[in-house]
Amino acid sequence: MKEVMLDCYGEACPIPLVKAQNSIKELEVGDMLIVQIDHSCAMKNVPEWARKEGYNVEVEEVDDGEWEVIIEKTK
């Protein structure tokens, strides 16, 4: 199981979402994708998309207005 960091700092919607969608395709089941974001709009669509896909999702607020969306590819 590997962990992949995806740096989306400074990027506004919908770039973080598109990047996350592309990155997860490259991963195996059981791998983790960690999307780093600092635009709050991405906090609305990235976790929502990942949950709709059926992945496990948890978010860490690493600093004020900076988040890591941790996505476990479950299928």
Partner: protein, 407 residues
């Protein structure tokens, strides 16, 4: 492979980080309760989808919703509230230890406050997502009416909300075009609203229509309606579109454990209690009349305070009234009943004659009958005898001899 979930204990777990949940967190945190707030995406809830909030008292410059909710978050953090950004996968509400599970954690809590909010139902028409919220499609006339002064507005729906909100919008807008899916003259709203709307000079109706498509560049320009009988497309150029085709509370997680209204809202009483002890519900997920930030924070204040009282009362009950060290006698009465009052002297005599081997508690139900309910009494006054912290006898026909014989 299933990992072992990390177990953590809290006094209060709040599910949902919108204004209601944040307000409950501030009150619970200030009462020094160990409090956790769970939010599945961005702290602030639906309020963060609004670019201007002009009617929340104390903020005359109409800030973004997120600016207000970020301040609430900061305030809750200052009160020592823990935040965790994750979705709840299951809850167990019954029992003294309530359980909230996420995919990595299991939280055990004395109190759960449900503040999961809701979402507006959308039409599902083509390109709708591009214009949602602040790009031309709105769901709240109270919020956005003033911004539509002298504009042309399309309203979707014909229920009470659609027509009443449409009439409100008509005070500001130049013209309102209402899309109704029924035949001419048939609407879902009440008769009074219907007559007023039909007679209103600014209201125009497009019967037998639903939304087919939304069009525009960065902002909504045209709502393309479709006649459901003929299939004909009817483009309507407008400044904004309001959808009032229902609201969906986020109550799915609780459906099997809590009573819901037929529209799936959680019913609560004045203290925001749900009917399951220690479980409160607040904000848009509850059956309430006005859904606004101002009313959500009021709900949160009530639930935060009620949670504190509930925990304090429960501690007194568990540690003092249901003590395990000695045989206990609990006398439950209402002080406004003279006979019940008189029997207090008998209770005192029993206490004295047992010289210290008996713990006597007197519960006056005049102010709060919470403790009496916990004892499961059928009527008052009553005497309850406990041994090693367990109820062994409930006596309703009060006499000194009978009570003494059971001790």
């Amino acid at each position: 492979m299933a990992r072992e979930k990390v177990v953590e204990h809290y006094d209060v777990v709040i599910i949902g980080g919108g204004p209601a949940g944040l307000s409950a967190a501030i009150y619970a945190g200030r009462a020094r309760l160990k409090t956790l707030l769970l939010e599945k995406s961005l702290i602030g809830g639906l309020a963060t989808y609004t670019n201007e909030i002009a009617n929340y008292p104390g903020f005359p410059d109409a800030p973004k919703g997120e600016a207000i909710t970020n301040l609430m978050k900061e305030q809750a953090k200052n009160m020592g509230v823990d935040f965790k950004l994750t979705a709840v996968s299951s809850v167990t509400l019954e029992g003294e230890e309530k359980i909230v599970e996420t995919f990595r954690n299991k939280y055990i809590s004395k109190v759960i406050i449900i503040a999961t909010g809701g979402r507006s139902r959308t039409t599902g028409a083509e390109r709708e997502e591009e214009f949602l919220f602040d790009k031309g499609i709105s769901f709240c006339a109270t919020c956005d009416a003033a911004a539509n002064t002298d504009k042309h507005v399309v309203v979707i729906g014909s229920g009470d909300a659609a027509i009443e909100e449409g009439m409100f919008l008509a005070k500001f807008a130049r013209q309102i075009t209402v899309s109704v899916m029924h035949d001419e003259g048939i609407m879902d709203c009440n008769e009074i609203a219907k007559q007023a709307a039909l007679a209103h000079p600014k209201m125009k109706f497009v019967w037998n229509s639903v939304v087919k498509r939304f069009e525009g560049d960065d902002y909504l320009k045209t709502v393309v309606l479709k006649n459901i009988k003929t299939g004909e497309e009817i483009p309507v150029d407008c400044d904004n579109c309001f959808e009032f085709i229902g609201y969906l509370p986020n109550s799915e997680l609780f459906e099997t454990q809590l009573p819901l209204t037929k529209h799936k809202y959680i019913t609560v009483n004045e203290k925001k209690e749900t009917g399951i002890e220690g479980v409160f519900a607040i904000g848009d997920v509850t059956d309430k009349w006005l859904k606004q930030i101002a009313t959500a924070v009021g709900d949160g204040a009530i639930a935060g305070t009620a949670a504190e009282r509930y925990i304090a009362e429960k501690e007194i009950f568990d540690e003092k009234i249901m003590q395990k060290e000695k045989t206990g006698l609990i006398y439950v009465y209402n002080a406004i009943d003279p006979e019940s009052r008189n029997f207090l002297t008998e209770i005192e005599a029993i206490e004295k004659s047992n010289c210290g081997s008996l713990v006597v508690n007197r519960i006056d139900t005049y102010k709060s009958n919470g403790l009496a309910l916990k004892l499961g009494l059928e009527k008052l006054p009553a005497a309850v005898i406990t041994k090693e912290g367990k109820i062994t006898e409930k006596i309703y026909d009060l006499s000194t001899a009978l009570i003494s014989s059971k001790l």
